[in-house]
């Protein structure tokens, strides 16, 4: 059962008819490519498109999608602009507030979209989507729902991601572990670390098996894997034994490697890809989004073996180790139109093109972003890589944390207290009760 069906079923038949007519009228102009939302190539104009994908592979993929859509929409000229992650949204907010300087299309954080929509930062795309026959069922349910505010969508889902465990097969094999059977549970992980950790003669760390905070991962994922549900009846719960247990488990890893300062010192030896700790052999297993696969593919790192020789690094992927239940989660981004954008018609055409199956597949091809369009996620082009299917399968254990309108960013209350737990200044229980108290008080203030 699709929850979204009901939202679309109640629409008045007249609207449906109008929509159908528009779709029919638009079809001849659209391409015959499957899954393409009908486009209107007559629309013209210059549009500015903001994204935060600055690394070589992604910047290149963005340009590819833009070029593809330029072919489809010859009368539109797209300028793509890179903005640092984070700054992209604050700059847009300032621009929208000033009614000047906002882009026509922006990559928006799906998990914050309804909150921003409530403040009037993005345009309601509900009517446009309906008129052009955008089919909500084409997208994963939870993804489409995350774009809605008061029943209308504020951005077409462009991509999603999924957190998985990457591990270095060469090192696993060398240490006598089965490279085809990476640790699945926390116990197995801890045991594997005994075989994988390497210490220098002076007692400092030379190789880390695993670090629960290295990669694109935080306490939230581990708590989910420990069976915790963060939002219960619309209210965020962080002060819970399952979370406390998770933090203590994470702290044990930090202590295993000599405390917070030591771990930071160790990790800071490594830089950006291709010198990151995983590729350079400093960390054997890490949790990251599927997109990390594209960085590995791009740099093709080599692994240093014990005998001093090097080999091409062979890496594997599996689900993040769990305690109570296998878990992961998916974030991701939509293409949205800021309020006050100069050229919303052209922006909408570009969004339809980029967020359609061909656009999403093209974007995913080497970035390993997961298409938010279900059928695109298993497109033959993508499935050509034998590793690809696993990422899509991993989404099966994905846990979707419900949106809390009164305080969408409640997780920051947890996150900003964690370092004090890691250094041992504050106990997990203290941090959690303080975070909970503040979440409760902010939610009360906002209601």
């Amino acid at each position: 059962m699709r929850k979204t069906d009901s939202k679309w079923a109640w629409r008045r038949p007249v609207m449906a008819l109008a929509a159908a007519l528009v779709v029919l009228a638009a079809l001849p102009f659209g391409t015959a490519q499957q899954g393409q939302i009908p486009l209107n190539p007559e629309v013209s104009g210059d549009i500015e498109f903001w994204h935060f994908w600055g690394s070589p592979v992604r910047r290149n993929a963005v340009r590819r999608v833009v070029a593809q859509c330029q072919d489809e929409l010859p009368n539109i000229h797209v300028t793509e602009t890179f903005k640092p992650f984070g700054d992209i949204w604050t700059a847009n907010i300032a621009a929208v507030a000033a009614r000047s300087g906002m882009p026509d299309v922006i990559v928006a954080d799906r998990l914050q979209l309804p909150r921003d929509a409530a403040d009037g930062i993005y345009q309601n795309l509900g009517e446009l989507a309906e008129a052009d026959g955008v089919d909500p069922a084409a997208f994963w349910d939870f993804i489409w729902d995350q774009t809605l505010y008061e029943g209308d969508t504020y951005g077409l889902p462009f991509e999603t991601d999924v957190r998985v465990l990457f591990y270095n097969k060469n090192v696993m094999a060398e240490a006598g572990l089965d490279p085809e059977n990476p640790p699945a549970t926390w116990e197995e992980l801890w045991a594997a670390a005994d075989a994988l950790d390497v210490w220098n003669e002076d007692g400092t760390l030379a190789r880390m098996a695993f670090f629960p905070l290295y990669g694109n991962v935080g306490a939230d994922l581990w708590a989910m894997a420990n069976g915790h549900d963060f939002v219960v009846d619309g209210h965020p719960v962080v002060d819970d034994p399952a979370v406390a247990e998770t933090l203590e488990w994470m702290k044990r890893w930090i202590d295993r490697y000599g405390g917070w300062a030591e771990t930071q010192r160790f990790l800071s030896q490594y830089g950006a890809a291709p010198n990151d700790a995983f590729m350079a052999g400093g960390v054997v297993m890490k949790v990251d989004v599927a997109g990390y696969n594209s960085i590995l593919n791009f740099y093709r790192p080599s692994a240093k073996l014990a005998d001093g020789s090097t080999a091409n690094m062979d890496w594997g992927v599996s689900l993040p180790p769990y305690s109570e239940r296998p878990a992961t989660w998916s974030g991701g981004f939509t293409l949205s139109i800021p309020t006050g954008a100069a050229n919303p018609e052209a922006a909408w055409e570009f969004i339809k093109c980029a967020a359609s199956r061909p656009g999403q597949v093209s974007w995913a091809r080497d970035t390993y972003a997961i298409p938010s369009d279900i059928s695109a996620a298993r497109d033959p082009v993508l499935m050509a890589d034998p590793a690809w299917g696993f990422f899509v399968d991993a989404m099966e254990v994905g846990i979707n944390v419900p949106f809390v309108p009164a305080y969408s960013n409640w997780i920051e209350q947890l996150n900003q207290r964690l370092e004090s737990v890691w250094t041992g200044d504050v106990t997990a229980a203290e941090a959690l009760s303080a975070a909970q108290a503040e979440i409760d008080s902010i939610i009360q203030q906002n209601q």
Partner: protein
């Protein structure tokens, strides 16, 4: 209240020349030698970060994590890579335009206003000067938000492709043309020291007030004007918060915003060798200005008591 925040060295109207060398020795000469060694040590410590920056800018990624000073291979390509990444030339141009206009605006307007307070007599002058002093006490952040709201509502009629002043250079330039309380105060103290007789005799010769200002008082205030020009240059060139709030389009970025953008381009941890390479290039103009006008910097700071940051 504000008057007491003037360093005692500030003496109205005296040109801020370095005082004559004077020997003054509370210690025996062996102490002097030790003091000199200490100074040498301090000077080295002060220079080390800069040298480290140069060293890092010339390193290969493979050498980054070794704390060696001389790279085995001088990676000049770091500079060309870093420069090939962004719109550095555009951003440099933007920085130059904004800095130029702010400096000119700041110096001209501050000088005019200081002239009014120092050498003209008009009703309300002393009260308004009190207001000038009072605004020096006002922290900038109190005004940050309402100023943003005002600029967000002022129409720009499509200037730099924008409907309002936000996302144009105007909020960064126009306020400079209204002077700064601190500079007005400094210049007023300075201009009061220019002998009044010069103005009197010019007036008898039929010179207008504007002429006296421009041809007599301004040339005689050169040291103070240079100081102000230098500090407003430094302030505008290195301003971060202003451009961060007011400039949204990449093509309008200044170098400071460009640097932050570049930091993120690698995705995740910054590539320090590239970052140091561009940072070095961005610092270069200020460094050149400093070395060229060193005297004004050092004398200026002594009279103004204004910190560089």
């Amino acid at each position: 209240m504000a008057v007491s925040s003037v360093p005692p060295t500030l003496q109205a109207g005296k040109a801020p020349l370095l005082p004559p060398r004077r020997s003054f020795s509370p210690f025996a000469s062996v102490w002097h030698f030790l003091a000199w060694l200490l100074l040498v040590g301090i000077a080295v410590l002060f220079l080390v970060p800069l040298l480290w920056m140069i060293s890092t800018a010339l390193k290969d990624p493979s050498e980054l994590m070794r704390n060696n000073w001389i790279p085995q291979h001088l990676a000049w390509e770091n500079f060309s890579y870093a420069l090939s990444y962004g719109m550095w030339f555009r951003w440099t141009y933007n920085s130059i335009v904004i800095t130029l206009f702010s400096v000119v605006g700041m110096v001209l307007s501050s000088a005019m206003v200081a002239y009014a307070f120092a050498r003209l007599k008009w009703p309300g002058r002393d009260i308004l000067f009190g207001v000038v002093l009072a605004t020096m006490m006002m922290p900038g952040v109190v005004l940050m938000i309402p100023q943003f709201i005002i600029f967000a509502r002022l129409p720009a009629f499509g200037f730099q492709g924008s409907q309002t002043w936000v996302n144009t250079f105007l909020p960064l330039i126009v306020p400079a043309f209204t002077g700064s309380a601190f500079y007005i105060f400094l210049l007023r103290q300075f201009m009061r020291g220019v002998p009044m007789e010069l103005s009197e005799s010019a007036k008898i010769d039929g010179a207008s007030e504007l002429r006296i200002f421009w041809n007599i008082v301004m040339p005689l205030s050169k040291p103070a004007l240079a100081t102000i020009a230098i500090f407003s240059f430094q302030g505008a060139w290195q301003d971060f918060m202003g451009p961060l709030i007011y400039l949204q389009s990449e093509r309008l970025y200044t170098l400071q915003l460009g640097l932050r953008q570049f930091e993120f381009a690698a995705g995740g941890a910054p590539a320090w060798n590239w970052l140091m390479a561009v940072s070095l290039l961005v610092m270069l103009p200020v460094l050149v200005v400093f070395l060229a006008f060193q005297r004004y910097f050092i004398e200026g700071i002594s009279i103004t008591g204004m910190g560089g940051r």
